[in-house]
């Protein structure tokens, strides 16, 4: 999502939340985050729908001074996803529905191989690291937004992301 689009969602009309615009700009990101975290497309769809439903009901409570609209939305989506995780006890089954590499263009053999390696490496990450990856690369949040969503500092998010990327790289290199 572009910076301009984010700004439009955050202050469309004198600080009020333009929910329609937020929905349009974040729908796929929320789904990607949920699917990346849960690794279950059906559950991701449920969580995405529940997240937008909850956000719509609570839209009047959005406070722009406390963070961006996307951070607020992903906070709600995260709660819905964790509720789903908690309810279904699916944490141990994260490898059940891996990243869909088949849906991606496979013209580049090297990239295709990397994706397969990444898929295996993602399965070895801890859930919190997996969530960071989902928020950063699937949902496209900034470090500050991720910090807002998971309740930590942006620098801490940066540090953890760096370590997680190192783990992914080592896992990919080790698999070669």
């Amino acid at each position: 999502m572009s910076e301009a689009a984010v700004a439009e969602v955050e202050s469309p009309c004198q600080g009020e939340l333009d929910f329609e615009r937020l929905y349009r700009s974040s729908r796929d990101d929320v789904y990607a985050y949920a699917a990346g975290l849960l690794r279950d497309r059906a559950a991701a769809e449920d969580v995405t729908a529940a997240a937008f439903e909850r956000a719509y009901r609570k839209r009047s409570r959005f406070d722009a001074e406390r963070g961006s609209a996307r951070a607020w939305l992903f906070g709600i989506a995260r709660n819905a996803a964790l509720d789903e995780l908690r309810r279904r006890g699916r944490q141990a089954e994260l490898s059940a529905d891996p990243v869909d590499t088949a849906s991606l263009p496979d013209s580049d053999a090297q990239r295709s191989e990397l994706r397969l390696l990444l898929d295996g490496a993602l399965g070895k990450l801890e859930a919190r690291e997996h969530e960071l990856i989902a928020l950063k690369f699937f949902a496209g949040l900034s470090n500050a937004e991720i910090a807002r969503v998971i309740g930590t500092s942006a620098s801490n998010v940066g540090t953890k992301l760096h370590r997680t990327m190192d783990k992914l790289r080592e896992a990919c290199d080790g698999a070669l």
Binding site: E20, Y23, R27, D28, Y31, A32, A35, G36, R41, A44, E45, T48, A49, F52, E53, Y56, R57, K58, S60, R61, N79, L82, D83, L85, R86, G89, Q91, A92, V99, D100, T101, S103, L104, Q110, R111, E113, L114, R115, L118, D119, A127, R128, E131, I133, F137, F138, H162, M165, L168, R169, C172, D173, L176
Partner: protein, 366 residues
């Protein structure tokens, strides 16, 4: 693929591996978004859970407005209920509806019995002395052997224009009861009133008080009893002794032969007869005190709520103050009850939030 991957390469691969939603799901979600995300049936199906979700979904302003409206309605209802059950209002209403019953009014057997236990037993129009009839009768039987002096005071509120008529009704009631008007004053017009000091045969005191109470609005009623058995018995015994002494002196006088002795006995007899006369008077006064009850009837001119007199601004202020006082009291009591509950609710809510957050985080650690 022997070289080490760098972060950019991995990031690019991750971005490319980003899951995309199914088109069917996107369409369905778009439709739900267009419809304002109508509620889906809940999995647990609990009505309470649905209600809680609905409450949670309300905007804070609407929630505050709804809460404030509910609180105001509760205060209004409680104020109306309390005002309608106000003892003062009820007391006036009783006076309006019926003359106060004799048994309840205090000079019946119940108050007689009260006198047995205290030299000065008082009762008021608030009916604090109403008892079970069997108990009252038992005590009344005991009281019949005693000498009880009774007194009563009734305050009536009358429209200034009715004072003269009400005074006439008082006289009529006294006449009907074979009572005696000791003293009376009547002044008519604005600020006027009347005052009657009466002696009413104790046996008819209840009827008389009922008659006075029915004349106009009763504002106050006070009754008292005084047990004068002891002085009555003492006076009777002293009189009997004195009479015996007189008889004895008469016998001595009839047998006395010496003039000086006759004169001494005659002097003593004269003194004893005087003493006996005083005792008889004293005893008669005591008997009169029990046979007749002192009653003070006061009629005060003013706007009567009973007669539907002109209800003015001052009455409105008075009523408004009364209602506001009750409302303030209700609010204060409500706050005293609600504040601790609200604090507990807040603490429970915070605890629940912390617990839920902890459980969510643990879902990631599992």
């Amino acid at each position: 693929m022997e070289r080490s991957r760098d972060h950019d390469e991995i990031a690019t691969a991750l971005a490319e591996a980003r899951p995309a939603p199914r088109q069917a799901f996107v369409q369905e979600l778009d439709q739900r978004a267009a419809a304002g995300f109508p509620r889906r049936p809940r999995r647990d199906g609990s009505p309470l859970a649905g209600f809680a979700a609905w409450i949670r979904g309300l905007p804070p302003r609407r929630l505050l407005f709804a809460g404030g409206t509910t609180a105001l309605a509760a205060i209004a209802v409680a104020t109306v209920v309390i005002a309608s059950n106000d003892p003062n209002s009820q007391r006036v209403q009783i006076a309006l509806d019926h003359p106060i019953p004799t048994e309840v009014s205090g000079l019946g057997r119940a108050s007689d019995s009260a006198a047995v236990h205290s030299s000065e037993a008082e009762s008021s129009v608030e009916y604090t002395h109403s008892r079970e009839s069997s108990k009252a009768e038992g005590l009344a039987n005991l009281a019949r052997s005693r000498e009880i002096e009774r007194s009563a005071e009734i305050g009536l509120l009358a429209d200034p224009a009715d004072i003269t008529d009400d005074s006439a009704k008082v006289f009529a009631a006294v006449h009907d009861a074979n009572g005696i008007v000791l003293h009376s004053t009547t002044s008519s017009g604005k600020g006027g009133g009347a005052r009657f000091e009466l002696l009413i045969p104790s046996a008819r005191l209840g009827d008389a008080l009922a008659a006075f109470s029915s004349i106009d609005e009763v504002r106050s009623r006070h009754e008292a009893t005084d047990d004068i058995t002891k002085p009555t018995v003492t006076a009777s015994e002293e009189l009997r002794d004195s009479q015996a002494r007189v008889d004895s002196l008469l016998a001595q006088l009839s047998t006395a032969e010496v003039e000086s002795e006759r004169e001494a006995i005659a002097a003593e007899l004269h003194a004893e007869r005087g003493h006996a006369a005083r005792l008889r008077n004293q005893l008669a006064r005591l008997h009169q005190r029990t046979a007749y009850s002192r009653v003070l009837v006061r009629i005060q001119g003013g706007n009567s709520t009973e007669s539907g007199g002109a209800w003015g601004v001052s009455d409105a202020f008075g009523d408004a103050g009364h209602i506001l006082g009750i409302a303030a009291g209700v609010t204060l009591v409500g706050l005293a009850v609600i504040a601790p509950l609200a604090l507990l609710f807040l603490l429970a809510w915070l605890a629940q939030r912390l617990w839920l957050r902890g459980r969510r985080e643990r879902a990631l650690d599992a």
